[in-house]
Symmetry: C2
Amino acid sequence: MPSRPVTLSHRASLTKDQPISWFMQQAVENPDLISLAAGLVDVESLPGDDIAKVAQAILSDPASAKAALQYGTTPGYAPLREKIVARLNELDHRSPGEAYLADDVVVTTGSQQLLYLLGELLLDPGDIVLVEAPSYFVFHGVLASLGVRALQIPMDDDGMIVDDLEDRLRQLERTGELPKVKMIYTVDYFQNPTGLTLSLPRRAQLVEVARRWSKHHRILILEDAAYRELRYEGGDLPSIMSFDESREQVLLAMTFSKPMAPGLKTGYGILPNGIAAALARFKGNHDFGSSNLNQHILDRLIANGAYDRHVANLQDVYRNKRDAMLHALKTEFPAVTGTTWTYPKGGLYVWWKAPEGMETGPNSPLMRECLKQGILYVPGEFAYVEDGPFPRNEARLSFGVEQPERIREGIERLAHAAREVGLPRIQMPRVAGCRG
Amino acid sequence: MPSRPVTLSHRASLTKDQPISWFMQQAVENPDLISLAAGLVDVESLPGDDIAKVAQAILSDPASAKAALQYGTTPGYAPLREKIVARLNELDHRSPGEAYLADDVVVTTGSQQLLYLLGELLLDPGDIVLVEAPSYFVFHGVLASLGVRALQIPMDDDGMIVDDLEDRLRQLERTGELPKVKMIYTVDYFQNPTGLTLSLPRRAQLVEVARRWSKHHRILILEDAAYRELRYEGGDLPSIMSFDESREQVLLAMTFSKPMAPGLKTGYGILPNGIAAALARFKGNHDFGSSNLNQHILDRLIANGAYDRHVANLQDVYRNKRDAMLHALKTEFPAVTGTTWTYPKGGLYVWWKAPEGMETGPNSPLMRECLKQGILYVPGEFAYVEDGPFPRNEARLSFGVEQPERIREGIERLAHAAREVGLPRIQMPRVAGCRG
């Protein structure tokens, strides 16, 4: 009998390959490539010794070994959830009366799982989510898979322009689409992909606007603070959530992947009362709880101070890498070339703009030349959705993976490739042996 | 301004608390309770030392520490996937030409995540999945959340009665519902909840029936082999998948939680070509890969023989517990009481039937009396769906968690409770100090 085709679900028809997979393929096929594309973390600083020590301590004691190797609970290991809120109460300067509670925390398989679960819990096909322009492209894939439309709000150096957000809400009200708006998604610290941070005044404003425009139902703010702890200069800003006195408007997503180790694959959400419980029901169906051993490991790393020490170390490591990239950009792309880039005070990314007309897309002459030169970036267009015209001459440059010397080399190769495809050639004196 | 309600998704309205949560609550509130309810594993045998040793080896070597603590790939760590298929090729006696391939493996956050992802990938609201009667109740919750109907097929001592499955398919064809049938789900080794195993002839028959009834599209078999390696007597049976020469009809789900440690939260699927890639796209949205560190740990445990040694040890541990339960049941429930139970050759469960008319539900006199006596079981009705009448006098008894002495004590309490609510009181000579 001839075989019959498999019928996939409707959602499967909406679920595309993430554009980033193309880059992973490139990196695999060209091992000598300098990758300013991957959103991976610095490998040299991964805290193998710290983790080995606490794993040993947990597993060599029969009582703690049993607890860590048995099934955990769906929302996550309670002592870890306590420590998560304790840290966050400190970061956000919460008084005891306004403290976040461990019951509002759900631990997930990286913050990506939290984003997915929240999408599944809160969004239906045809709903609208407002995101930044540009925005975190992996989340666009999640929204598309859920049949949800993403609309993009312009940014400036202070992050999402909340006045523009309000204009857009007004416009959606006029077209009768306001009831479809369920969520505002922002990566508010050292954004992926731009490196920009939502300013203090805009944090308060965003909460106020979301509340005021919750005319039909609550418009939730999904605050993706994955990079908050990777801060290299300037003071820490309080979370958007801390401006929400009602404690019902903001969903806060964070992760241990960036500030500790991706291999532990542990993220978490601090959620309004009621939503945490509903989310745990979904998680019960998905996996009834993320890796229990990894949660016990993280609990000990926070308890013994290794986590704080590691974050402080990472800040030095990445600051150095960032400076290498910024210095190389300044050297290689003089102002007269018409290129510009952001100045991130944390995170892993610089957003680079080629001169008008020099496209950066996957099939652009620049990309082809870069692959020839052995340098990879993420085309900026991946970070936009089909919501009106968007720039085609931008790129995300990550300083996370490569070491400073290779970052400098990568930017030199990028400049070389750009000159090959039309960037003005400027004779500049090179500063010998300079360190970023 | 008064707060606005949150609008949850349609799927949220279908996503209920798992009935098992009621039991977890009971266990928390009554720490002295003997739990024959929980599907947890034996804690005394959890391999803390083995895991500590390989974790130490991985994390103390800079190269392997970096590899394990960085992001992994979405389908899972390639060497682990190689070892998974190597093991399975051996178990299923595959010749080189018919060997399963690592490319067909997706590693997931426990096998539960695999079940969820497969549901999401393959099923739409209104679809039908055929399951055993009784069946694994957590999967019923997943199906309900997806808006999918589960229909139940009777079992006998040889597992799902495939002739009855075919009758049901014929009936669905008559009512025009055959096009909605997408999947047949079976826990085919030492089933949760009955402990029964699908016999060898029925394995071949099931594949043949699924293929023959794939008239509109492929009707897939989801083979949940979570308990395969926990085998205490009799020979190993080849997987259903091994009878599928086309390699396109069967989805095989397995896990390291039961045979190794739930705390590592790692399961896996061996999937028909094409479905593995489509599933990885979904997993990319969910979490882009399960814990990488845990996959590296499992890879080493298989490589150094610890995994095989541990499985062999577990077989002794659980055989002893099973025998304790079976012996206590025989002692406490003489045949004249009208109670019966299954004889599992592996797994963690015995399926117990009280006399006709003695209900076992959460609000039944028996359950109330059991809670008073400090003994907990899972009401059998949780393992049925609303698909015609089903028995109300059954229970799942797990011998996984408690030690043999407590298992015996638990069965004594169950018998005491049963007598309190009407089980015939028989004077039986007790065998002093007998060991199961």
